[in-house]
Amino acid sequence: MIQLRHVTLEYPGAAQAALDDINLHILKGEFVYLIGHSGAGKSSLMNLILKRETPSRGEVYLSGESLRKYRGGRVALHRRRIGMVFQDNLLLQNLSVFDNVAFALRVIGVPQREWAARVLSVLAQVGLESRQSALPRQLSLGEQQRVALARAVVSDPPLLLLDEPTGNLDPDTSGEIIRLVQSTNLRGTTVVFATHAREVVEQFRHRTLTLRRGKLVRDDPFGGYAL
């Protein structure tokens, strides 16, 4: 599904590479944690997969295709294959829960007649069907993150990237989010989950990749938190 071959990412003026000669292969349907301290390179790796960045050296492949030559409309099509959840959820504050989720369908041109069924179905999965008319500021942080997750999966992408999605949440709410992500993974979606929440990685074990100062220092197929 995702392959990185000798990938190095250097930012102009930075003393150290954000990512240094990374080689990894994530298979279709896998659930992979990406752990490491702040600045270890987790977000840089996510950005490479999203094609927000281009590697200084090496190649990133998604489903066997190199992302290097993607431009303009091709990048947009590439991103439609990826659901994305961030720590700060990036919900649109002037839109209701329903409209925030439907927004993902609108921007990719799904006909309006299909929205209601798909949005309500995914809101039911994250337990927010009854809050569809609420505005984001009327929700708790955990609920907002569930809306962000619903928006990420409503278009049924084959790949889900999560960048510190439980960073602002208490352990119980984090557990809820992980369970939702796991159920999405069980339906066949590949998941890459960047976090430094030890309890999450320990409790819900999956393959774990450890980054340190831009280098991939550990790839543990059985999981567990060890920095």
Binding site: G73, R79, I82, F103
Partner: protein, 287 residues
Amino acid sequence: MMYQIRQMWLALRGNFTAALATLTTMTLTLALLGAVSLLTLNLERTLSGLEKEVEVSAFLLESANDATLLKTVQALPQVASARIVTKGKALEQLGQDLPGILEPGSLEENPLPDSLRLTLKNPRDVQVVAAQLKALVGVESVEYGEGYVDQALSTLESVRFLGYGLVLLLLLNSLFNILSTVRVGMFARRVEIEVMRLLGARRGFIRAPYVLEGIVLGLLSSLITAALLYPAYFALTGQLRTLLPSLPLLEDRRVVLELLVGLVGLGVLVGGLGSWFAANRYLRELE
């Protein structure tokens, strides 16, 4: 499309001060542009009137064969019309032009020569034709108001050139106004734009509300301009007609209306193109 229109309206409302500033500046620019265009049109009329009046006179020797010379001159490609003015006719005309000074029969002998009077298809050929006339056998001298005609033509040419230069600068000014308004508007909604991009929205989808905003601003400002300029122009020409009745003013309402319709089209074009460029550039910078 309804979504894009709603987003355009939200962009206008959310960025109201900048939109109002653009609307005002663009209206002023288009008003100036319209005024310069009307002035240029009036200058064109004056210029073409002056050009039509350019006449070349070739004074003939006593021995000249007038009919042959007339045929030769009429065959020149630059000549629009040619006629012979006999010495008698010229004296008669002089008497009419200087009444009280030159009375009929007051001269013992007519001192004036026969002459050829020519008008040209293009007044800028005047010097070439004059040189050709001078070379003809039987032509004593040639006059075409050299100095005066050349200077008047070149002055009016300069005025026309300056007018178009000013119009171009004003258009660029409008374009830059639109560019900055759209940029401010997009920056204010950068989070939403970033979400759209991450969700896989194409550039055209993100750009559409801003292009619509530019078109609406262009349309509004040009309509305001037309509504102000039309009555103001005819009020001014009415006053000028009373003060300077000989001035060849443009008073054809259809021509003025056509110009204002063109101005509205230009406003929409500048608004649409400016916002398209601004939105595209902003999105390219994010990539």
